[in-house]
């Protein structure tokens, strides 16, 4: 019952926080298993969604660290900058993928992954999940002022990174 009710939220938050990958299903299962183990200690005065968001962000953080470690261990086969540019338009793509809206989304999403973990978490909670500042502060266990700062700084940094990418794209064209 809990799984059915919250599975979409868990999948989309994990997807945004980790940038996707094949392990999303495993990560989502890990989230619900952690919730299941923690249920006996669950305080009834708290909302289960708040609890679940916390678990999702923790699982995403663990996965992020694991990937960073994996990446550090691998010999870089290609320039990191190329990986996102690869995703952008090139003549081989179909017209649907070359739409402005799709490509903008790809640029913003790749830039988003370069933000710090708290900035990503706050942006996901406040923009995508439409949490209030109070809810985000409760989930992240941060003061409301810090949530606001992360949100503002995250937006600014995201715009800068997107602009950088767009400029580089224009120069390359």
């Amino acid at each position: 019952m809990i799984v059915r009710e919250h599975q979409s939220m868990v999948f989309r938050t994990l997807l945004r926080m980790t940038g996707g990958g094949e392990q999303i299903k495993d990560l989502a299962q890990e989230v619900f298993l952690r919730l299941y183990r923690a249920l006996p200690h669950f305080r009834r005065d708290a909302k289960i969604s708040t609890y679940l968001y916390r678990i999702v962000l923790n699982v995403a953080r663990d996965e992020w660290k694991r990937r960073q470690k994996e990446r550090a261990n691998l010999i870089p086969m290609m320039d990191a900058e190329e990986s996102w540019e690869e995703r952008l338009a090139h003549p081989g793509r179909n017209p649907e993928q070359l739409l402005l809206v799709k490509q903008t989304q790809a640029v913003v999403e790749s830039a988003f992954m370069e933000l710090s973990e708290p900035e990503r978490a706050v942006l996901v909670l406040c923009c995508q999940e439409e949490c209030t500042y109070e809810e985000a502060a409760l989930i992240l266990n941060l003061p409301i002022g810090t949530v606001r700062t992360h949100l503002h700084r995250g937006r600014q940094r995201l715009k800068e990174k997107v602009r950088e990418r767009l400029n580089r794209c224009v120069i390359n064209k």
Partner: protein
């Protein structure tokens, strides 16, 4: 805005999904230069939840995994820990034995504080036995 070919309205309607504008160098340049359009592009992506596909059997599989994990935990708990039993038995024997000795054979020279110290020591051994054996009694 430097660009004459792509207007703010072109970009914004494309971002709203109302037109099918293409990803051209002009559009990219416009987005990079126009603060409002860039802001709208960023916000529209942030607010749009990513497209997800939850596997059909996800809830059922997760429930099965949770049940299996629960069974594993219960099994791990049910495995007797012989070391703990031995430790508890030794501590209890020691505290009861010492208590009996003190009770049956009080030394004539034993004064109040020394006797008290002995009983405190015996009580400590007994408490330790209870604390170590706590999981066995649950």
């Amino acid at each position: 805005m430097r660009d004459k070919q792509v207007s703010c309205e072109d970009v914004r309607s494309a971002l709203r999904g109302e037109s099918r504008s293409q990803w051209t160098p002009e559009a990219m340049d416009h987005l990079a230069q126009c603060e409002r359009c860039l802001e709208m592009a960023v916000e529209s992506v942030l607010q749009r939840a990513p497209e997800i596909q939850v596997p059909a059997e996800f809830a059922r599989q997760t429930a099965a995994m949770a049940a299996a994990s629960n069974a594993n935990i219960a099994r791990a708990r049910s495995v007797p820990s012989y070391g703990r039993f031995v430790a508890v038995a030794l501590l209890l024997t020691l505290s009861i034995g010492l208590g009996a000795l003190v009770a049956m054979y009080p030394l004539p020279t034993t004064n109040g504080p020394l006797l008290m110290a002995e009983w405190i020591g015996i009580l400590e051994l007994g408490s330790l036995a209870l604390w170590v054996g706590r999981p066995c009694f649950e």
